[in-house]
């Protein structure tokens, strides 16, 4: 089986997951205690409005018909109408998604920049003071509440030192970078520990393998052994792990967007809760799940390129 077929099979495997995700999102609104239509419109809604909402949501129909309506709308990118803004959910959501995706992308870059050098150094200087400091520091950042870390960063870097802005998204490319640095750093420090630990361990494992000993015995320089023989193989599990961590990364984004008042999809999700804007909550949850599914797919495909041994 070739790579093309492998990718095709992965796409087919996605179908039951996508169906399952839509069922959960569909069930979410039906899990509201009481009448969902009343919950969505608020207590002051007229009986007429409630009846119209029930009609448009198909709440008077049997469940399977309701689900069919839901999926049919979804297939047309119709995520419903926001009760808070009175416009289609997709309109606002996609506009806000840009900010979240920027945070996710910036966080990924920062995570790699932090993890790869630290992981390599910790492995090469195993059990040294440096290794121990890195490992202890990781234990600490791993158990820090990310929103607390964000607040501490604001106190130190924004309020006391005045190096970075307290909140907001900024203007222009460099403005965005400056504004997104602290939020992205906050999220990446919660993921980097897992990655550094994995990278360190996989380098140590690869270093023990016969082909590395052979490479050394051949008289290759330590630099060549590391870059050509060790790193290439040790990075593969780290890439997979980074892919898996993206779910956590997106959850972290939701919190950080609130801490740094970023106008992203995560903050939108949280704000939709207090506003009882359930269509928006549904839409945002769906988008986040969809992004995780896409990243996992991309990771698997990337993996098939990185590791020639992968079985299709």
């Amino acid at each position: 089986m070739g790579r093309g077929q492998y990718i095709l099979r992965r796409l087919v495997q996605m179908i039951p997951v996508l169906i399952g995700v839509t069922i959960i999102i569909f069930a979410l609104i039906r899990a509201i205690p009481g009448d969902p239509a009343v919950a969505m419109l608020g207590d002051r809604a007229t009986n007429d409005a409630i009846e119209r909402m029930r009609e448009s949501m198909g709440l008077n129909e049997p469940l399977y018909v309701q689900y069919w309506y839901f999926v049919r709308d979804l297939a047309q990118f119709d995520l419903g109408t926001s009760t808070r803004y009175d416009v289609p959910v997709s309109e606002i959501l996609f506009a806000r998604l840009k900010v979240s995706l920027s945070v996710v992308l910036f966080t990924t870059v920062l995570t790699i920049l932090i993890s790869v050098p630290l992981g390599i150094l910790a492995a090469l200087k195993k059990d040294s003071v440096f290794d121990n400091i890195v490992r202890s520091a990781l234990m600490v950042t791993l158990v820090m509440p990310s929103f607390w870390m964000g607040i501490m960063f604001i106190i130190i870097f924004s309020v006391k030192l005045g190096v970075f802005p307290v909140s907001g998204y900024g203007q222009g490319f460099f403005g965005h970078i400056r504004h997104l640095f602290l939020p992205s750093l906050t999220v990446s420090l919660t993921i980097a520990p897992i990655l550094i630990r994995a990278l360190r361990n996989s380098i140590l494992e690869v270093l023990e393998l016969d082909y590395v000993k052979t490479a050394r015995a051949k008289g290759l320089t330590e630099r060549t052994v590391m870059t050509v023989h060790v790193l290439r193989n040790a990075l593969i599990p780290a890439v997979t792990l980074l892919g898996i961590s993206v779910g956590g990364l997106m959850g972290g984004t939701v919190i950080t967007e609130k801490v740094f008042s970023l106008p992203g999809a995560g903050a939108l999700l949280i704000d939709s809760i207090t506003a009882r804007d359930y269509a928006m909550l549904q839409g945002a949850t769906l988008i986040f799940a969809f992004m995780v599914i896409m990243v996992n797919l991309a990771t698997d495909i990337l993996y098939s390129f990185l590791d020639p041994r992968v079985r299709f």
Partner: protein
């Protein structure tokens, strides 16, 4: 044979001296992380239990004449905007947060253990259904799905427990299923079967004790995760309600004063970090202790 050799080397066999086999207690005593973690954990539990006795003030008592005092001898951690003693609140917070962490971990652990074990043991259509369900739940970012469930069910710790039970079982199900798949074909299981052991008996008496260790290590680390989750939900207004001295609530309440009174948010956060470190020490130590060959 190779196992014996490495064992001998570990025990100093090269010198030829015969040593007593190490007992469980010996191995535990020499596990620095585990011992340190357990000692600190016992101390933490004592603090939580004795908080009403050792806390110098009532955690809810308002004292406007002493609002926003920086840390001093009278108020070790300072006071908040309502004049409440932060040190007393942090001590009482241990009661809430430890309880939340431990309660949260129980349901997903049990659900995952049962579903994973049955899946791995019987396979077939049941396994397919459970594993597809796992895939679906894992397609969501953990935090986003928990938030969404709490959002529709209403804020509060009770609904957080429900949300966690619905979402977090997948991790344990996957772990246990994987281990059962490996173990179920081993000789001791075959032997138990040959002796006429029922499926239930084999699972309970033979498989479970052998597959549960990894999950226990995970559960230990997860207690810290759920304390973080509870704090995050408080921050979003979905968790514990003020004026409860939950650490996340305290961090959130102090956020308005970060420019003038850092101790309001910083010190409860440190309590979370410290608790997390203690639990990680136990988790890492347990991993070494239960699985020496995987060190």
């Amino acid at each position: 044979m190779s196992v014996d050799l490495s064992r001998a080397a570990e025990l100093g066999g090269m010198s030829g001296a015969v040593r007593k086999p190490r007992t469980t207690w010996d191995r535990m005593r020499h596990n620095r992380n585990l011992m340190l973690g357990l000692t600190l954990f016992v101390a933490l539990v004592l603090v939580a239990l004795l908080a009403p006795v050792i806390a110098p003030y009532d955690p809810l008592a308002l004292d406007f004449t002493n609002a926003l005092q920086s840390p001093s001898r009278d108020h070790l951690f300072g006071t908040d905007n309502l004049g409440r003693d932060i040190f007393s609140r942090v001590l009482h917070g241990a009661r809430i947060d430890l309880r939340v962490g431990i309660i949260s971990v129980i349901s997903p652990f049990i659900i995952g253990l049962v579903l994973g074990a049955v899946s791995g043991f019987y396979g077939g259509w049941w396994d397919t259904i459970v594993m597809r369900l796992v895939d679906v739940v894992q397609a969501f970012p953990f935090l986003v799905l928990v938030i969404a469930i709490v959002a529709v069910r209403g804020p509060g710790l009770q609904n957080m427990y429900i949300a966690v039970a619905l979402v977090a079982w997948v991790v344990y199900a996957r772990l246990v299923r994987g281990e059962v798949l490996v173990e179920k074909n081993k000789e001791y299981v075959q032997a138990a079967r040959a002796l006429g052991g029922s499926d239930w008996r084999i699972m309970r008496h033979h498989l479970l004790p052998n597959v549960i260790t990894t999950s226990v290590v995970y559960a230990m680390a997860d207690i810290a995760l759920y304390i973080l989750l509870a704090a995050a939900l408080s921050f979003l207004g979905l968790g514990a309600k003020p004026p409860a001295p939950e650490w996340g609530v305290m961090i959130t309440e102090g956020r308005q004063y970060i420019t003038t009174a850092w101790w309001l948010s910083a010190l409860p956060g440190l309590a979370i970090v410290l608790t997390g470190i203690i639990l990680s020490l136990i988790g890492d130590g347990l991993a070494d202790f239960l699985r020496p060959e995987r060190r």
